[in-house]
């Protein structure tokens, strides 16, 4: 079996890529997909540690992360549809009602 560190490095790189997406993109749906990427990187870390420590609890947590991601998809996309109805755009620059 491969060393644990390989999986952890891949997960760290994917998490950093997701961070770049959240911080630099302005399209709300692309930001949303970047968040999904970050959640998946964390899932990979959970599964790798679970396998190498011989403990199944990490894999159960992956299920809970997936559930939260599914809820987030449903509510987040509904929010985007509502926002698009009001502003005709999903650019986060137009989310400026509370901007100082």
């Amino acid at each position: 079996m491969l060393a644990l560190n390989y999986y952890l490095i891949v997960a760290a790189i994917l998490f950093a890529i997701g961070t770049v997406g959240v911080l630099t993109r302005r399209n709300a749906i692309v930001i949303f997909m970047s968040i999904e990427l970050m959640l998946n990187a964390v899932n990979l870390t959970f599964v790798a540690f679970s396998r190498y420590l011989g403990n199944i609890d990490g894999q159960i947590f992956v299920f809970f992360v997936m559930t939260v991601a599914a809820c987030e998809a449903a509510v987040g996309l509904a929010l985007m549809i509502a926002f698009h109805k009001n502003r005709e755009s999903i650019d986060v620059e137009h989310l400026n009602l509370m901007k100082w």
Partner: protein, 168 residues
């Protein structure tokens, strides 16, 4: 040898498609790249002796969530982003992400793994079956979180229906 070659190939595909997710101008291309990343992660789960999780990953993420995202992209008819991306935001985002990468790589690889190993190893997974192990843990130790999850899903359904109504 063969395993590490396979691992590096899949890792390269996952990282390249992950980069495409954040760099593509058209959201549809980003979504399709994200599907490729999800499949690569499912392959990693199979390599880590978690076949049930790989199946769930493909069904829930690559199936349900991505279909929902692509459906919304098409419903809203989103065009590709048009220019005017400020340089300082790009540079700051890349610097912060690089710092996060260094920090997480240092934290994840720097420590030593705890000596106390649990009972799960490859022989047990092959003997009992991964799905059964997951089921025993989920409906045993994790029964209360599992029930709370159903409440979370119910709240999300109601929230989505209320938010997507005619008037908000």
């Amino acid at each position: 040898m063969l395993e590490s070659f396979f691992f590096f190939t899949v890792a390269a595909i996952a990282i390249i498609s992950g980069i495409l997710v954040v760099t593509c101008k058209n959201p549809i291309n980003s979504a399709l790249s994200l599907v490729v990343t999800f499949f690569c992660l499912a392959i990693f789960y199979v390599m880590l002796d978690a076949p049930f999780l790989a199946a769930v990953q493909i069904m829930v993420y690559a199936g349900a969530i991505m279909v929902l995202i692509i459906f919304v992209i098409m419903l809203l008819n989103i065009q590709a982003e048009t220019g005017r991306r400020t340089v300082h935001a790009l540079v700051t985002g890349c610097i912060i992400a690089f710092l996060i990468l260094c920090e997480s790589a240092w934290l994840l690889t720097g420590g030593t793994i705890a000596k106390s190993r649990g009972p799960m190893d490859q022989a047990l997974i092959l003997k009992v079956g991964h799905t059964e192990l997951i089921g025993m843990a989920m409906f045993g130790d994790f029964l209360l979180p599992f029930e709370i999850t159903s409440l979370l899903l119910l709240t999300a359904i109601i929230g989505a229906v209320v938010l997507a109504k005619k008037k908000v």
